[in-house]
Symmetry: C2
Subunit: 229 residues, 2 copies
């Protein structure tokens, strides 16, 4: 079946069924088909993907290791929720690793990268008018990806990706709750680009990138505190 229908299908058809299952489930979590709290039943997913439960099981375990799903023995897996505490920890960790990754990749960033990042940021600025949180968040990720993707330390880069993945599961980004943060964010992006352009000290870049993210977290916390005192 796999060969017949999907010949040179798409990137998802690559490799083992486990990988396919992983890709498929991840996509569904990120795009919201499986909302937070949704129960992931192995047999159902397996049937859905046209494979056996074994590869699905492996995929779920991998997702568990990455924190996108929680797992309970003999009970099953559920899509990890948007627990505010969880959010805090994830953002805190991400600020740390992304800050470092950005600093490490800064010396390797060329003019083309800078231009691309700036273009994305300008798009974000334009987006401020008729504000669309989802679009803004997507652009935000794209912007930062340009900045950290050249990080030479693969472990660190992997941690950054995991952090973003976890955040992706709550699609209704921070900016939905705290739209006021969006404008400041765009300005800080420009400042970050300047630092990289002028080959600033690694420490300085790391601090800037880290506090940029921390500020978003703080804005969210302040908002959450106002809403649920």
């Amino acid at each position: 079946m796999t060969e017949v229908a999907g010949t040179a299908r798409d990137a998802a058809t690559e490799g083992s069924k486990s990988q396919q299952a992983y890709a498929a489930v991840t996509a569904r979590i990120v795009d919201g088909t499986y909302p937070p709290g949704h129960r992931l039943v192995l047999a159902a997913i397996a049937h859905d993907l046209g494979v056996s439960v074994v590869p699905v099981r492996e995929a779920i375990r991998r997702l568990e290791a990455e924190g996108l799903v929680t797992f309970q023995r003999n009970v099953g897996a559920t899509v990890a929720g948007i627990d505010p505490t969880e959010y805090l920890y994830t953002m805190q960790t991400l600020s740390l690793v992304e800050g470092a990754a950005t600093a490490l990749s800064a010396p390797l960033i060329g003019v083309a990268d800078i231009a691309r990042a700036r273009a994305v940021n300008e798009e974000m600025r334009a987006c401020l008018q008729h504000f669309d949180p989802l679009r803004f968040t997507r652009l935000n990720q794209e912007f930062h990806a340009v900045l950290f993707e050249r990080c030479p330390n693969p472990h660190l880069l992997d941690l950054v990706h995991r952090g973003w993945n976890r955040l992706a599961s709550l699609r209704s980004s921070t900016f939905r709750f705290v739209p006021g943060r969006a404008r400041a964010s765009v300005e800080e992006h420009e400042g970050l680009l300047r630092l990289i352009e002028e080959s600033a000290d690694a420490d300085e870049i790391e601090r800037a990138a880290r506090s940029h993210r921390s500020a978003t977290l703080d804005a969210y916390l302040a908002h959450a505190h106002d809403t649920h005192p």
Copy 2:
């Protein structure tokens, strides 16, 4: 054997077979039964542990996610090696996350913790006389564990544990190669304790903890460069 003899056996018998397999394989990697480069054959391990290949497979995948083993499709898993580059990346990442974890846990560290850490450090100081790299390394881990273990951010703490685990796979620690680093390390430990005692700024503690580890890395790199120019 597992069911008949071991009723409330021991901690290793807890939970699923997958967890048992994970614990067993991890232990063998850390204690050197499976040296770096050793090929992990599923069927052999399964037979050895008295279980089927499925749980073993899951355990291996988990170890892969943690970086203790490398995996190749349709080929198998091998215990991850001591590639100097890998070491650099791991230490770099560890310095980052451990520094942050130490800073975050500092306010939660009580006098008892300080006393224990200091006792361990004194033991390390005594150990400097008839130097034993393995013992020194074990004490070193114990010392740092006291300092970061109270970190309230579980993700971050998990990353620190993973980092240490990966380093544990190369038991012949840095201090074997660079014994001169040991004395400086003990002194820096004392400085770190002082900072925590006097409730220093979080940034300051983070910087101190990070550069402590970075210094160890640098010492190793300098040594490696001397040896293999």
